[in-house]
Point group: D3
Chain length 334, copies 6
């Protein structure tokens, strides 16, 4: 198959980029989707140091690795969120600052604009990431929601992200929201509303990750049929439901990997996602960008799993057909 | 069947108690579970007016209706919750006060103590209701939860409800938490943790409502097997999943009744709850208290539905067996 | 429920209308959907005899029966079909004539125009029926179809039915195609194409009969969501799949009722149709027209079944909700 | 429906026949299938006392009850079984005698011959019952079975029951084996082998009881298609699987009614049996004999259940169709 | 496994046999099932040119390929079909001739006799193919079928194919009908009727292709149990159902590969066919002939797919057991 | 993965240990679980001949094979069983002796003590095996069981095996019962009762084999959650259900491999066992012992299958995770 297979580095930030590139190059990956944390891709340095971005490319090329996208999930999350102590643990100190919520949100928005500029410096056209959401906590309507307040959440998203996307479009870079619970869009209706709120802009689209749909009982194929033109990037990640009448689909306030959870992330091909159906629909859409493995499985050795996942994608992804079968019947026997 | 069938009046607070008692008596209900809002059962008047509670009983008896429990969901919810504008819409003004969150929580706690006293005045032994939760918003762990903070949520619950339950036990009344998303307990592990936090006290137990388990894919039978000794009261309510690959089990930030939702409440017997399995397990537990219909179905005429629900329960509930079958074989033929 | 329940008389044409009206009136039906065959409703007499239509109304009223639609399936079928000996068995002799296919089709088209005029004379606004199809025999593409020929089939339909619908619209009557295999529309894509071919005209719509969708594995709810505005009339009919690895879903060239068939028509409520989901969606659409039982079950006594079906609909259909539930919570406690 | 509904009295032997007949007559049963134990139908008295059989008929007729069959399960069981203490508890003392196994088996065989004679005296043509089996204990092949020994078990059955069936045929009575685990036939292959062993005799057939098939995952329809000509009598009894990954289909050496069992008997219509499919197939076979409720549900009040079961059968059984539907279409519109 | 794996060349007729043999030999196929169209195997040349057949064998052997069967689907289809323009596109001009239907059918029948002779010349014992059907268009009985006409269709098949099979038997060759919709046999009852019509002749049997059963919900195992003795050849082909309530199992008059279809052909191992169950049953039958991959998947690159399919069969097919397990236990421990 | 993969030699006793070790070493197994029958591991020689055990180790090491357990199923079975001719076929002559049941049971018990001593001589810490059961024949309660008799069966087990386990504990060896129908424990409740009867002793535990649970519809994960601390050894074996409404889950008194059976043993990965779920739970338990393939599939070539099974385990087993994923997010972007 001709689609490159990359690894998203976000879950490997405990390793230096040098070490990670060496390993993944050896394992046979085609490239990396660099996370904007750890030392993998540092937005501030990319803007401040003229050689930084070129150096990152050179480092990757030494291991025969390309780069098609960078990931800015943690800072993006803070743009719309109700800020709490969890954000402090995941934001750069200068974005967190004094932790005043509105100040955090505004600094995060500025950092996202810088991320677009840094992506352009690196020469990639896609930044994947999260948007956060001011209304996620209203997920279950009790005490009963004022649904006008829900609508204001989509508007808040549009107001905060519009100016960021202006910068993305100026830089020739596109932001790809990973549709995901806790974000402004996590399923069909919320994707529709988020896209309607921000408008059909070339700079804003979707990082399609089927693992976040599967535990919601959502099917990737109709999602891609409806929103395919907005899919800028694709994650290969899987999740699995473990429902036996005793485990809740809601997660039970338990950490990933706990045995009483009703669903969990698992290594690609070990869960409920029908990847073949997804490949076929990506083929129909003509998507030729990377398939980026975001590897997360609390019950499996990470290196064994990353290689297993790479082999899985290489073995199962395929190109679309180039022939019409009935054509072979035409013309008769002579 | 000998278990009485009551109607929870919380969804009928637009009707006066006089009118509601007249109608439900005519329809054939055995009693009402009075909500502590509208004019159905007013806690402050029950404490202030010596004849109030007796008057309510008399009103019900005129329509051949009994009362075994009162419901205090709205005030209970405020005891642990992160307070927002939604609570203002559902709380009595004197509990809301100036809306300062900690003040609201403390006034709600005091009102719950009064509710125990009022229940005793009415002569009922069970108050059903909600507890609220300081950690509900952490339901999906992103940004990653500090799970020590989750544990502190159960502790907060125990600290706030312990003194309330002291009053319940003094009054000879029991509080029955309706296990439900947005509450401190909503599934198996959270029920375990909540019960462990507050201790095995006679004054704190469960109002078992299977509709809140069904959309989580939870089975009422093992729930009752594990927690049956703490079940003080039972709701008859149903919910149904409408999962077709396009509708999320999480609800999509849509109001109940919206066609794009992945699940919804429906009239009893029209959804996914296996009531017969529940009756059989209640029989094993020896539960002889009321089966209280909490009627809620956004797509069905309310009066048609309430009568349909009453007929459903009267037709399907049954007593346990009083004979051992093999006994009939013993003794031989002549 | 306020929707009237009628019986489609097409499968009872062995009985005179007098006898059938007497029986169905006694059983409790609200009305009849008169078939345009047997002596139930004779189009030629309705146009030729000034009192005929009024007489039919009077006859029904004597048995407290209304009429909201007439059914013209057999003649409609011949308008687009490839004509064979089966049509001779089901057409009036003067429509069959010499049996030359194009002549039959044209005479059938003229008779359909007369049917619109007769419906107007009777004072009903809906004619249910079939369209036939010139391309049904291409259902399985082997030898490989020329799909341009399939498209020409939709065009043929539009050309033949356009002038018929002109007359319907002049008469203030609407034609409701029973979407059904062997017709120009039988599922989602074919309904889309048929409606696109003839244009969005007020005189052409759908007689929704879920039994023809169920054996195709089609869900009535999304069908009604997409095409609901074109649904002019509703049939209550059921079908059931009997798939055990040995019975084909295609029917095996076996007559209805044969035990080796993979699916069959059954009395309403005895099959795979989810009528409650259908009622809820009809409620959302505001459909208040008749629910017309088309009774067909090769394995059940007809009279037992018709009464069972009437009781089923009366017991299960319901009105939509007139209240918003959360409203009851607002306002607080005292 | 015209098939009579009877009650098998075997599980009610703690009640005298006078009392049971009075109750069941009042509940609306059409008749009783009398058990040959308790005082319901005493084989020895029926042979010894000239008026006994006539007296039983008269007693039933006083309560408008008929009788079409008697049940001799307990004695029949002993004909082929490996005898142990459990047989002593269920056999008449004179059949048990000294308990020597071969002697018990031979006395049981003689008593079965008497049962045929007693049935003839009562004027019924069917005796339902069990055969026992010398090979049931070989159900799981470990230590590995010698399968020639299994074949000898069928032969043993044929040798012991052949002379009994001779008497049945002389008396004009038929023995209907209730196909059931622990008997010589309990599923498809064992029924085939048992019938092959004893030969296609008019005096030996099947009492069809779907409850014993359902927990084995067997479908009544193909069973009736294959063996329908040998079905002499039908039981209405239900069973339900409770499989959740923790409960074994094998029963766990637990008594009926224990909550950890993987399946159990339940009141008709409360379990896994598809009675409608069974009725349709019985209609195809032309079976017009009794539907005899064998009521057994360890979790339900017996009298509530028996009446619920009677209402269930009366509501759901139906006659076959007497018309061909397409016939109504023929003839055209004229 | 010892069964050879071949490729049916029918869908590759756009490639010359030279090129196709070179590629498939390199990929590791064991042989080819040559289609009688394109230049793969030309019946007329095989009869006219003494060296033609030997030349084809030699060509294959150069690439280490065997040949066990040839495929004559297109001409066979015309023997019984109602002829239309689709046949012109798939027949040799000299068979089509002037296109008069009966003439086409008779010339096709003669060509099938020649095909038997050509197969003998090539030294293969099996010709796979289609029969066509004069009654396929009656698949859905509306207007209601005269089922005597359906029976005449089986008779027509027997009359037209009897003389063809005479020649096959004279030549020592067998015709293997690929059971398939649009053919005289496509499921269980139609196979029974077709075999009954033509009689149990050694020259007429089945080319078993499970992909045509799967979308009909038919199970290959009972099919092989019932008809296994008539299976002369096996195709490895797969199909998959995509049923989501919006896609019809009937195919919607859409071409293969269209996303709205309810089922489609897919590369082996990517669909609903349980090949392992099929292999096990073939092993029980003792089938040691070729497993011939008929590759067709509108959404997959053809060469990638053919190699994937070959690897799938080589990896999953296996020989039957040669030992009895319990034997190993016998003999005891020392 | 670091868990060794061994082959249980019990089903290969027709081969000498020399030949089997040569083959399995070449195929890549890590070791053998030696059966105590054939010449694989001879308990009497191991006790009588000082060099025997050391010789066996040396033989295995020559083929790079380890040994972690020996299997004593056949003798163990006789300790509690009701003895019949099947035991004679599987016991050493000196254990069978004169075949008097109680004598056989006592000699088998003595041999099990010797087996513990022989295991110690070989230097392995685990003996796998069966216990037999005096109550297996009561599996279906008809004639109705006296359930006190069932309880006495567990007591009989404890009395017979207690002294054997004394010797095991003295020798530092543990007995691992393969939970299995026909044994004292075969599912959840029977495992609970057996463990309760014998007490929580270090010398008695479980050889976990999921194939014996799958056909009972039991889930390995909750089994391991409840009994994991007692799991001393693990078998890799699979079973598959073939339920189609005609095949009984009870096995029909048919030998393994017969096509009419409702379930059968199959090669690992070809059946219903979810091995990945099992590995994950074994990882949670910290189990690092052997995964021992007990290969049994009546429909597959034995050598092909053993290698297929080895490859299956090597490809699918994996180590647990050594990292916490969220850790990678912490620290922010700086």
């Amino acid at each position: 198959m001709t689609r490159p297979v990359t690894l998203f580095t976000g879950q490997w930030a405990d390793l230096s980029i040098d070490e990670l590139a060496a390993r993944t190059g050896e394992w046979g990956f085609d490239g990396l989707e660099l996370a904007c944390w750890g030392d993998h891709f540092e937005v501030d340095r990319a803007l401040a140091e003229p050689d930084y971005a070129r150096g990152r490319r050179a480092l990757l090329e030494r291991h025969r690795l390309g780069v098609w996208a960078i990931g800015a999930h943690l800072v993006g999350q803070a743009v719309c969120d109700r800020i709490d102590e969890r954000h402090q643990a995941t934001l750069p100190p200068e974005v967190w600052g004094d932790g005043d919520p509105e100040g955090v949100r505004q600094r995060a928005a500025e950092r996202m604009k810088d991320t677009a500029r840094a992506a352009a410096a690196l020469g990639v056209e896609v930044v994947t990431g999260f948007t956060g959401s001011s209304i996620w906590h209203l997920i279950y309507s009790f005490p009963p929601n004022d649904f006008a307040a829900v609508e204001r959440g989509y508007q808040d998203f549009a107001e905060r992200w519009g100016p960021i996307i202006d910068v993305f479009e100026q830089e020739g870079v596109r932001f790809a929201l990973e549709v995901h619970p806790t974000e402004i869009a996590y399923d069909f209706p919320t994707t529709r509303k988020a896209l309607a709120a921000i408008g059909d802009r070339p700079g804003f689209g979707i990082n399609f990750d089927p693992s976040h749909l599967a535990h919601q009982f959502l099917d990737p194929v109709p999602y891609l049929q409806e929103f395919g033109s907005k899919v800028f990037h694709v994650h290969i990640k899987d999740s699995k439901r473990f429902l036996d009448g005793r485990r809740s689909i809601l997660g039970s306030h338990l950490d990933f990997g706990e045995p009483e959870r009703g669903w969990d992330f698992v290594s690609p091909g070990h869960g409920d996602v029908d990847f073949e159906a997804m490949y076929r629909q990506l083929n129909r859409l003509g998507y030729t960008g990377p398939l980026s493995i975001e590897w997360e499985d609390s019950g499996m050795d990470r290196e064994w799993g990353a290689r297993d996942a790479l082999a899985f994608v290489k073995r199962t992804d395929f190109d679309p057909s180039a022939v019409a079968f009935d054509a072979a019947f035409a013309g008769g026997e002579d």
